[in-house]
Structures are given as C-alpha cells and as structure tokens.
Symmetry: C2
Subunit: 195 residues, 2 copies
C-alpha cells in the first residue's frame, strides 16, 4: 500500500460528505458538477479519477449518509420497549431532519430524487432501496417484539412509522421546525400503542 506518485490533496470521505450536502440541498439533477466541485474543493478531473461518474459519486455519498442514518435508527430500535423504540426512532429521525449549520433540512433519501429523468432512474432506485432498508430494520425489530397489541401487523406498523417519518422529511424540507415535527410525533404517540 505504498503511495507512489503525487499524493492526493483531499480526504476522500470528507469530500463525499460535502457532495452529499449539495445533493441533499439541490437534489441529484439540481446538483451541477460545478456546484459539486465547488463545494468539494476539488476540480473535475480529480472527481472523475476518484469516483468515476456523477452517479457513482452520488451512490458513494448517499451510502455514507445512509449508513449514518441506519446506525441512528438501530440505536433507537435497541430500546427494550417497543413503544419506546418507536418513539426514539421517530424523535431521533425528526432531529436529523432539522437544518443545522452543517447540513440542510430534510432527508437526502427523500429529496435526493424521488422522480428523475429516465437516464437517471437508477438514482431513484438507489434512494428507494435505502429507504426500504431502513423500513426492513424497523419491521425486523417489530416482528421480534413481544409487547405489541394483538392483531397489529408488524410490517404494516413498520410501514406506518416509516411513512410518518418520511412525511416529516417532506415537511422539514419545506421549513417545518423541530418543535412542529415533535408535536406531530406527540399526536402519533399519544394514541398509538397505548402503553
């Protein structure tokens, strides 16, 4: 693993996070290469030599984003009580949706590109796979639960929780505040699976 030749002047994972932020803010098709290279602090040939193409860059950047999101979800779902696990999942997700100084509002998995031109359809699929992945983790947790009210289909419950969270992502993209999202969660929890 010796480093022969001129060394790279940037950190690969750091620039991926910068790229993710641009995709997050403008969507895949709205993120131009100029905007990307500008934010990443590198120029096009470096980008292409390292990542191959815009789509591959997106896949890598989204991969990092998604891994972080899944690990947050897993931490929430590790709670012993199912109701508490769902609440933690929803609240930690909502917190991640609020814009802070170092990332935009909303969720890259949703606003990255729900609908794309035909030649970028793969991007929508990557995002959908990521969301399905998170929902599967949730469904897995709920399927193993022993404290669900009888008659509740754990897969349907997972879909419900995931849909609510994705809806919050849509709201957050439009500027909803953290307090507003948590109030919506309050409503859901107040009556959902009463403890």
């Amino acid at each position: 693993m010796s480093t022969i030749g001129r060394p790279r002047a940037f950190d690969e994972e750091a620039v991926l996070d910068r790229a993710a932020e641009v995709f997050w803010r403008h969507g895949y098709e709205g993120a131009s290469l100029s905007a990307l290279t500008g934010a990443m602090g590198i120029n096009r040939p470096s980008l292409y030599a390292t990542f191959g193409s815009k789509q591959e860059l997106f896949a890598r950047a989204f991969g990092r984003y998604h891994d972080r999101q899944v690990s947050v979800a897993r931490a929430a779902l590790d709670r012993p009580g199912t109701r508490e696990a769902i609440e933690a999942f929803l609240r930690s997700s909502a917190d991640g949706l609020t814009a802070v100084d170092d990332h935009p509002a909303g969720c890259l998995s949703v606003q990255g590109g729900l609908a794309c031109s035909p030649e970028n359809a793969h991007v929508s699929e990557v995002l959908a796979t990521g969301r399905a992945d998170t929902e599967a983790a949730l469904a897995d947790r709920l399927t193993r639960a022993t404290d669900l009210p009888s008659g509740v289909d754990p897969r349907a419950l997972a879909r419900f929780v995931m849909a609510l969270s994705e809806g919050h992502a849509v709201h957050a993209a439009a500027g909803a505040t953290r307090a507003e999202l948590h109030a919506s969660i309050d409503v859901a929890l107040r009556v959902l699976i009463p403890a």
Copy 2:
C-alpha cells in the same frame, strides 16, 4: 371574444394535464421540453406562446392537479364525524397515489421537486405552498371539530395526518401497492382517536 386568426389546434387544459403527467413522472428538472412537447402533442413555439415558460407551464399544470386534489380532500373532510373525515381523507389520498393507466404513482406535489437547483427554487416553493394549502384545509376542519379527544392540538393532528399522507406518497413513488398503503392507514386508525 372573437377568434380571429388561425385557431388553436389543441385544448389548453387537456395539454396541461399531459404536461402534469410528465412532471409527475420525472420531476420538474427531469422533465425536458422535448419530453413535454412530445407528450402534449404540440411543439415548442406553441407551448411558449401559450404558457410563457417552463416554470409558468409547471405552475399552470400543478394548479389543475392541486385543485383536483383539494376538491377530493374537501369531499372527504365534509363527513360529519372527525374520525370518519380523517379516514376518508387518508383513504382517498392513498387511492390517488396508486398508479393507474392514466397517471403515474405518487403525488406531483411531492415528487415534482422537493429540492431543486437554485434557479428553480420557485418550483419547490409552489409545491410547498400547495401542500400547506391542503394541510390548512385539514387544520381548519379539525379546529372546528367538536368531537376530538380533549388535549389534542388540531393543528398538530393536521400535520400528523398530512405527514402520514405525504409519507404514503413517498412509498407509492417507490411502488407500494394500494393494499399496503391501506394497511398502514389501518394501523393509524386502529389506535388513532378511538371512536
């Protein structure tokens, strides 16, 4: 209102619906003028003479889509019981999210362009305003309700219902079936505002 000169060879509202379908399927930025004119069956100069610009075309097409959506929502919200009104709202929305032969899956208000390049930011705003409009109608209905459980904030409940519906739109865009969406609604209703 005399018609002097060569008459138009297309119906303005009909081609707006065709345009809406393209925006719906590919998003604002993914919908090229070639795809639009192809689907609308007219050519560029006709499009520009009639609608002015791509953004104005989008605004007009979305306006029609949104009016229909609001009228469906209003019909649901006219039910006397609040729980029934919410259920009808969610179920009729879900039905509109399922792809049928004459329109794509999902919701134009969501997949039209949650995130856009800076020069198209107006599109995201138009969509967000449309969604906020629907939520306001819902909140209005709930604020007037006399049969809500005590302590439930009607605005938060409206946001919750709207978020769930938008989450279903995200699921539908990824191919969720009508049955899956309705199962999620079953979960929500089973425990929400018990009658």
